[in-house]
Every structure is written in C-alpha cells, then in structure tokens.
C-alpha cells in the first residue's frame, strides 16, 4: 500500500504568505492544494503557488558538498568541506580582522536560519557584516518607515483591502507580483473602490483604475509633493490628526509650496488636472490606502520616496485604522522575517541597534559571549566594491544569487572573483555558486521545519514534507556545525528550539511559540506577550510606535543617470508573473518556464519605429555598463521614452545594464532608472 500525506506549509514565492498543502505520495510531491481556511489563500493560489513545488525534486538539485580545485568542482564530504571553510574563515578573521569577512542571509530561508546566520556572524566571527537581499528591495522601506513611524513594515493587513474606498497603487504590479493581494484590489474595485495607479506601465490594475498617472521614472517625490500641495491648498488635510498625532507639518507645508500641479507636470509628465483630481479623491476618503513596492523603493531617492508615501497618509489621516495605511508589499516569502530577525548590518533581531551598548549587553548575555562588535556592518550592495578594494576577503552566501540579482553584474563578478574565499550554500548550482570555492547543498522550504514572516507581518509555520536529496542538509544545521567547529558550541534540538530563543530576545515576537503558531495560521507581530492576539494593523488611533508621526520635508532629486543623446531611453526593470527573481526555481518548473522561456524588452510602438525595432525580433540593448540581447515586445504597455526588461534571465541579465548607484541612507540600488540605447556598444 502506498502512503499519501498532506502537509500544510507556506508558499515560498512572494510575501503574500499563502497556506497550501503539499501532497506527498511515497516520498514524492505529487500536487498542491490551497488551504480553504487560511486567511490569505482562502482556497486560491496564484500560478506560482499552484506550481510551487516542482523544483523541489528536480534532478538539478545539489546533493553533495563541492570543493573547487584547479577551476573545477569535485564532490567532497561534509567534513572536508566544513573543515576547509572554518579553517579559511578563522584564518582570515585572525589575519585581516573580523570585518574582512561578510555573511549574506537569505529572504528565502526561514527566520530560524537567518537568526542563526546573524548569530554566526556576530557571536562567532565578531562582525556585523551580515545582510541579505532586502537591501535590494525594501531597505528604503525599513529605513524610511522606521524613521517616520517607528516601524518599517506594512501597516495594515491583506484582507483589509477589500473594504478600502480608495487605493493608491504605485510602483507595484500587484496582480503579477502579489497576486492574492492584486485579486483583493480587483475585488475592491468591482465593489466600488476608486483605484489610483501611478506607474509608467499599463499594468492589469489600470483596467479598473479611475486614474492612471504615468509618471516619468524616478519622479515620485515630485508627484507626491504635488498631491500634498493640492490637498493643503484646498483645505482637505486632516487638521485634527496632524495636530494630535504628528510633528514636522509646517516644514512639509513650506517645502511642498512650490510643487504646483503645473510645475509637477513638467517634472513627472503627469497632467496637472489629473494629479489634482486624484489628490482630491485620495484626501476625501477616510478609507484610503497606499500600496507600493519596488517602483518606490529602488531609487537613489528610495528613502525619500518611502517617506513621501508616509507624508501623504498622515496628511490625510489615513493611517492607524482598518483599510488605510502605508502598505509596502514585501516581495519574498521571508524578506520581512529575515529583516525582523536581524540579518541586517545595523540591528539585532527586532530592530535592536548594534550601536546601543544596552542591546549588545543583552545579546552578549543571551548568547554567552563577550565583545560583540559595536560598529555597523556593511550592506550587501557595498560588498563587491569592498572586495575589489581588498577590504573584504571571505564571503559566505546563504541562498542568494547576486550574480543575477545585483546591479551592474560585471562589477559584481569582478568583486566576487577578487575574494580569497567564497562559500555558497544553495539548492541549485546558481550563477553565483559557480564562482564559489566551496558549495554547500542546502534544503528547500519543503524539506525543513521553520517559520516565514509574510508581508502582513504574519509569522507562519513551514513544515517538512519530504526528505532532502542526497547529502543536502538543513541550513540551520549547517550553520550550527560551522559555529561549533569555529569554537562556539551552537546546538539546537530542532527549529522550534531556535524559535524559542529568538522569541525570547525579540520584543515583537516575544509572545509567539510554535504551539501558538499552530492555531489560526500564525500570528501577526507585534505580539509582545503570551496573551497577545497579534496585531492586524499598526499605529492604532494614530499612536505611532515612535510616539508622534514625523513629517519629512523633501525636495525632488532626479535619478543619477538620465537619458542623453548617446543613451536616449530610460530602462526600468522588474519582475514578471511567471518567473521569480533569479529564476533558479521557476526555470525548473515546466509550466512557468514554458510561459516565458526567454528575456524580452517592452518598447512603445513610437520608440520601435524611431529605432527601427521589428516586433518579436532579437535586439541588442546597451548601457554604459554592458549589452544584452533580448526579444522585442512592441507594446503600448510601456510609455514612449521608457523601456522595461525583467531581470530574471541570467542569459540576458538586465542587471548587466543597471547602474550601481545607491540611496545614500538605505544603500538600495537604482534598479528602476538608467539610460540605455537600442544596439550594441561597438566603438
């Protein structure tokens, strides 16, 4: 007789955090069924969810540790690989100091694993050089919203969109990147909500939008300042709320004064009347919600953009109540969690700053160590340059693929090659792993226990459904063994034991335990004590985490690289529905790969004519940093003067073109704007 079991777990794609069952027959995953009662899935999934496990048992999975010798990988035992790793890292720490090492956590891995990698970096190797790919997506959110509200996360919950009266969506292609949030926005619109979409692309939600404002890429502060000026001039601001719950209003008012709709139109390309009309609609409702994603964050003005969304919400009093708020949508299954548990260079878990001696003392006590480093570490995006400069010599990457995900690939490659020692722990031999000295085979979400934290701050269980292939080990077990071999005894009986420790030292997770997470599909943080039911929306009644909400007076600054005669088009990059990030999982999922098997460029018919681009032809696209060849999709979806390329495809990596210019505070790259031309870079 065969055995079929159904294991409830959490989807490992976007941050919606859908719950589904893996159906396992005699050790093989044969299907996925959405949970009926799960608050997000409610019997539904998106295409990635329905096809969310095919990659797990793909023949390409890494099954053995690999060591590179004479430029070629050979299989090695765990003992051999880990001895080499610990020897190299310990030696490097001794010779070059702890800060010559760096560690990348992973938004794909669990809270427990990210907690441990930051513990490994800090407690064992004594460096704060630990970060992960949140740097590339919402670093500006974490920094921006923490500064003005005191908490850098989505303020409200996913189901609340259904009751919104007005939803402003900007820089989020919600139906493709967060489909089960996008579907709720569509349902809200069908039920009468007004949608304001501010986006250079004609995304699906524009079909339901009363306003589609097509801004020039990188002009977000300008249009938001413009909206706020209209609101203030027409007396539509929430005076009570501003008086009682905020500070810094007068400076804001002064700054936005010059952003007349006409002035803003010149910068943004948004018609003055449309901007004013949209501003009025947003301000007049008591249930206006802002949804944003990478279109806001991935700029050199990312933090400014984020703070502007907060300004707009506070100005109209649309925060601290259901169906309002500032709602950054987190793009990865556990990017919220990886931030929460401290895989960041400046904070421990729960955003407790490393520069605060009280926090260091707390963690020294909890971990039984002394001398935790007091200097803020380096973010992911600075590592290639520091490696080239010889300041970082050894790098440990857990489940990330910077060779495809980071800007200016040629520079990243140069950086990784400049390292003395690179370790990559992953489930497939990625483009980054190919450059490593040691590769460690790790486990996918279906092969381990743990927790993910979704975009609505919901901490949910993942559960082991199948065995890992070959010699592959759970990420947390690998980290424990490295720590122990490096002289710090790190031992846990299970993922649950790690979570218990994590909850103890993390105020927002303090009231959580695996027992509690079993019920009702998890808990939403903050959940400070065992009786606390979790939090559906933050800053209730305008009582902000930081006390008063802080208005930020911000001037518009243009992107770093604007089009010119030589590179006349603006390139903006992003994701596409059927693929996910660096495509390591989706290219090994037959239905998803079949839908979009190759990279493409979206180009407006006017530009296609101007640059002699035939539809469906293969064309070269170049920036100052590189050239790629892509299929031309001539389409009205994109406005003239701007082109779009998805960044998933290593074979035609959009990030060969993007610029490694960064937000000064958050160090997030400006993925959304750089200058390109059609054709090669032949000199």
């Amino acid at each position: 007789m065969s055995e079929v079991k159904q294991v409830l777990t959490t989807c490992s794609y976007c941050g919606c955090g859908c719950g589904f069952y893996l159906k396992v027959k005699d050790g093989e995953i044969i299907g996925i069924t959405p949970s009926q009662k799960h608050p997000v899935s409610q019997s539904s999934l998106c295409v990635k969810g329905w096809n969310g496990a095919e990659f797990v048992q793909h023949p390409d999975r890494l099954t053995d540790p690999l060591i590179k010798e004479n430029g070629k990988f050979r299989k090695a035992s765990w003992d051999e690989a880990l001895s080499l790793l610990v020897k190299k890292f310990s030696q490097q720490a001794k010779e070059g100091g702890p800060d010559s090492l760096a560690f990348f956590g992973s938004a794909k891995c669990s809270n427990e694993e990210n907690y441990l990698i930051m513990k490994l970096a800090r407690a064992v190797f004594k460096t704060n050089n630990v970060d992960h790919c949140a740097r590339l997506c919402h670093a500006s959110t974490v920094a921006g919203l923490a500064a003005v509200f005191g908490s850098g996360a989505m303020t409200n919950s996913i189901d609340e969109f259904l009751d919104c009266e007005v939803i402003l969506i900007t820089g989020s292609n919600t139906t493709e990147q967060h489909p089960l949030i996008g579907s709720r926005i569509i349902k809200a619109a069908k039920a009468g909500a007004t949608l304001i979409v501010v986006d250079p692309r004609k995304i699906q939600l524009t079909k339901f939008a009363k306003f589609h404002l097509k801004q020039n890429c990188g002009t977000d502060v300008a249009w938001m300042n413009g909206m706020m000026r209209v609101i203030i001039k027409e007396g539509l601001e929430d005076k009570e709320f501003i008086k009682n719950n905020t500070e810094g209003y007068e400076e804001l008012k002064k700054t936005v004064e010059k952003y007349t709709p006409e002035y803003v139109e010149k910068i943004t390309g948004i018609p003055a009347e449309e901007l004013a009309a949209a501003a009025r609609v947003f301000a007049r409702s008591r249930k206006s919600s802002i949804v944003y994603s990478m279109g806001i964050t991935q700029h050199t003005t990312g933090v400014d953009n984020v703070k502007s969304t907060a300004n707009l919400a506070m100005l109209t009093g649309n925060i601290g109540r259901p169906s309002t708020g500032v709602n950054p949508l987190r793009g990865q299954n556990n990017v919220q969690g990886a931030c929460d548990v401290g895989a960041l260079p400046n904070v421990y878990s729960g955003y407790q700053a490393v520069i605060d001696p009280k926090n260091r003392e707390k963690f020294e006590k909890a971990w039984g160590v002394s001398g935790l480093p007091d200097k803020i570490g380096v973010p992911v995006t600075m590592v290639p340059q520091l490696a080239i400069e010889g300041k970082i010599k050894a790098l440990y990457i857990m489940g990330e693929n910077p060779m495809v995900s980071e800007p200016n690939t040629a520079h990243v490659e140069k950086g990784l090659n400049a390292l003395d020692f690179l370790v990559v722990q992953d489930i497939f031999l990625t483009e980054t792993a190919a450059l490593a000295d040691v590769v460690l085979p790790a486990t996918s979400f279906a092969e381990k226990d743990g927790t993910f934290t979704s975009t609505e701050r919901r901490v949910e269980r993942i559960r082991k459904a199948v065995k890992a292939p070959g010699q592959a080990r759970e990420d947390w077990q690998i980290i424990c063994e490295i720590a122990t071999r490096a002289g710090y005894k790190m031992e846990y009986a299970s993922a649950q034991a790690i979570f218990t420790e994590l909850a103890q030292v993390t105020p927002s997770y303090h009231g959580m335990s695996y027992e509690r997470l079993e019920k009702d599909f998890g808990l939403q943080w903050p959940c400070p004590n065992l009786d606390h039911p979790g939090t559906k929306y933050l800053h209730k009644d305008g009582k902000f985490t930081r006390g008063k909400g802080l208005f930020s007076a911000i001037e518009y600054k243009p992107p770093v690289e604007m089009p010119d005669e030589e590179y006349p088009l603006v390139l903006t990059t992003g994701r596409q529905y059927f693929h996910y990030h660096t495509r390591t999982m989706t290219k090994r999922t037959s239905t998803l790969e079949r839908e979009t098997p190759e990279c493409y460029i979206e180009i407006n018919p006017l530009d296609a004519k101007k640059y002699h681009v035939r539809k469906e032809s293969l064309i070269a696209v170049s920036s100052r940093r590189g050239t790629i060849t892509v299929r031309a999709k001539v389409s009205e979806i994109i406005k003239a003067g701007t082109v779009f390329i998805p960044f998933h495809f290593a074979e035609a990596a959009a990030n060969r073109l993007t610029i490694d210019a960064f937000d000064p505070v958050a160090k997030i790259p400006e993925f959304k704007v750089c200058a390109v031309k059609i054709g090669g870079n032949n000199k």
Binding site: S35, T591, R594
Partner: protein, 346 residues
C-alpha cells in the same frame, strides 16, 4: 435484503471503513486540525466525516492522478535502451465522494479511457478504483449548481455504492456495480435489509434535495443551444478576462479539465517522462513549435474555455463538460463565475 438497496448505521460505516483501510488505500473526507477538509488517506476511521462535502480538488486529481504523474523512465546503458513503466497505483477505495466528483470521473473515463487511444495509466488506475458516493442532500456550499446542470445531487449511474443520509443515524445504500456488491457481500453483518418505510423516507429526502431552488438557477439546455449559434456576450468576456489573474485554478480544480503537458526530465543518465496538469488559460499552452500563438489575447482564451466546456464537450461526448460543482468559483481569486456566462445566454 432487496437486490440493489440496503441500509447501514453510522457505526456500521465506521466499522466498514476500519476494515477497508487495512485492505486497500482508503480515501475519505476528513477535517484536519486547521479546519480544512479534503479527501485524505484514512488512518483512523473515526476521523472520517459522514456528511457529504466538496473538497477543493476533485477526486480525479486528489486520488486518481496527482497534478504531476511520472509515466516512465528510459535509460541507456552499454548501447541498450530500457524503458520502465512507472505505475504505482494500487487497489483504492474512495468513500464519501460527492456526486459532482463522480460525474467528473465518468467524464474522464471517456476522455482518457474510451477513445481512439485508450490511456494505459488511466485505465490501469481506474480498474483498481472503487467509488462510494454520498448523495448531496443539501448543497455543500453556496457555489454548487449541479442540479441545474443535470449532474446531481443524486448520482444515477457510475457509483459502486451510493449512500444517502436518512437522518436517523442510518444511511440508505444503493448498490451500483459488482464492485459494490462485493463490498456488501464481504461484510454481511454491516448491511441490513430495507423495508418500505425506509424506501419511502429515502424517496422523500431525494425529492426534497432535487426540489431545492438551485435546480432553477440556470436554464442549461436553452443556454447551450443559444451558445451553439450566437457569439458570447463580448462585454462579459472582456470583464472576465480583465479580472482574470491567470492562476489556472479554474482548470486545475475542474473535475472535467483533462488537458495535460508531457515533460522529459533528465536524471542520472536517464530520462523520466512525466505528465502535468495543464491550463488553457495560459498563452504558452497554445504556442506552436514555430513560436506562433493562435490565441495571444486572454479574452480569446477565456472564450475558448467556455466553448470547450459547454459546447464542444457536448458535441464530442453528448453532454456539457460542466458538472456544476462550482469549484472554479470556489478557488477563483477574483470570483469569476461560469454561471454568469451561462445565465447571459438564457
């Protein structure tokens, strides 16, 4: 005991399931600790729910085929190629199957099993499958409309045993096949004869279920006839395809969507061939070898789905492919309702 009808108590059912679970793979409706109900393998007969219900996935996907089915493995070594069939389906009983699911299986019996190229994998598995249905005395959820599609709430054929809750701690048992007879004859103590009183009670319940207002939801025959000669309402199709987020759920959860894709995966010097559930809502489903896609727009694919389900299935198999289970609506993230389409025609 009459020839084709008998009765059993709730306790008798549990005893029967307890016995079956040790002899075969037994699947039955069970609600887990998270409140989700599905056709799950039975470990403890006491957990089985005797109320009729409708799982997210139809039985044909939940039990008969997964979403992925490994078919064969071929291997080349020393110049010799060997092909091994991967057929792992063993004797299986589904208990508590809703009528819509049974109708879905009957459709698949024809689609896979009884056409020009009978499907080896399907037929092999189907032979080993026994179906014990529970008639839907009340609709399991608000999206059900099997009665108006002529596919429920009571099954008229195809079941091995059909149970009806008589409401007094007893179930009427109809025997529909020799497989059903065998179950009855192997556990004689659990089945009791029925008298006129029980039959009268059963008939009353049956009529009551069929008389429910849902019967009048949709004028199926009229709609299908209109659809055969008039184009579908363009505005409605546009609205549907605008809303659709291309998740594929309407195909994945449909008990009569049988389209599949075949993929070869290289593995350890050999190749494993597998079959995957597919969805006509994706444009890649349509793409031809040269790259041309005959239905590039979502609205074209949406129209195709309704024609396939409602008109072409009728032409090919004698009845529309929609059994009225409402699963496509249950699992649609944007509430797309096939009933809207049918209603727009009649």
């Amino acid at each position: 005991m009459t020839n084709d009808k008998c009765q059993m108590t709730n306790e008798g059912i549990i005893k029967l399931l307890d016995k079956l679970k040790d002899e075969v793979n037994l699947f039955a409706p069970q609600t887990n600790e998270y409140g989700d109900t599905s056709l799950a393998q039975v470990k403890d007969a006491c957990n089985v729910q005797l109320k009729h219900f409708k799982p997210v996935m139809p039985a044909v996907r939940e039990v008969l085929f997964g979403q992925v089915k490994k078919m064969l493995r071929y291997q080349k070594s020393a110049g010799k190629t060997t092909v091994a069939t991967l057929d792992d389906f063993s004797e299986t009983v589904i208990f508590g199957l809703p009528t819509c699911d049974l109708e879905g299986i009957l459709y698949n019996d024809v689609f896979y099993g009884q056409r020009e190229f009978p499907d080896f994998y399907y037929n092999r598995a189907r032979e080993k499958l026994t179906l014990i249905t529970i008639a839907c005395v009340t609709p399991p959820n608000k999206n059900c409309f099997c009665a108006s599609m002529g596919h429920g709430p009571f099954a008229t054929k195809g079941f091995d045993l059909q149970l009806t809750d008589l409401g007094n701690g007893r179930f009427m048992v109809e025997v529909g096949s020799s497989k059903g007879e065998k179950i009855v004859s192997l556990s004689p103590g659990l089945f009791e004869p029925v008298g006129q009183n029980e039959i009268a009670a059963w008939e009353k319940i049956k009529q009551g279920a069929e008389r429910l207002p849902r019967k009048d939801f949709i004028k199926k025959d009229q709609a299908l006839e209109t659809m055969g000669r008039e184009p579908l309402n363009e505005e409605l199709l546009k609205d549907i395809s605008n809303r659709c987020i291309s998740c594929g759920a309407c195909n994945y959860t449909c008990p009569t969507c049988a389209c599949f894709n075949v993929v070869d995966l290289e593995n350890q010097g050999g190749v494993v061939r597998q079959r995957l559930l597919d969805s006509c809502i994706f444009s890649g489903y349509w793409r031809m070898a040269g790259g041309h896609t005959p239905k590039p727009e979502k609205i074209q694919r949406t129209r195709n789905r309704y024609f396939c389900k409602l008109v072409w299935d009728k032409e090919k198999f004698g009845d529309s492919g929609c059994v009225g289970c409402g699963r496509c609506l249950d699992s649609c993230p944007v509430d797309i309702d096939i009933k809207e389409v049918i209603r727009s025609l009649a």
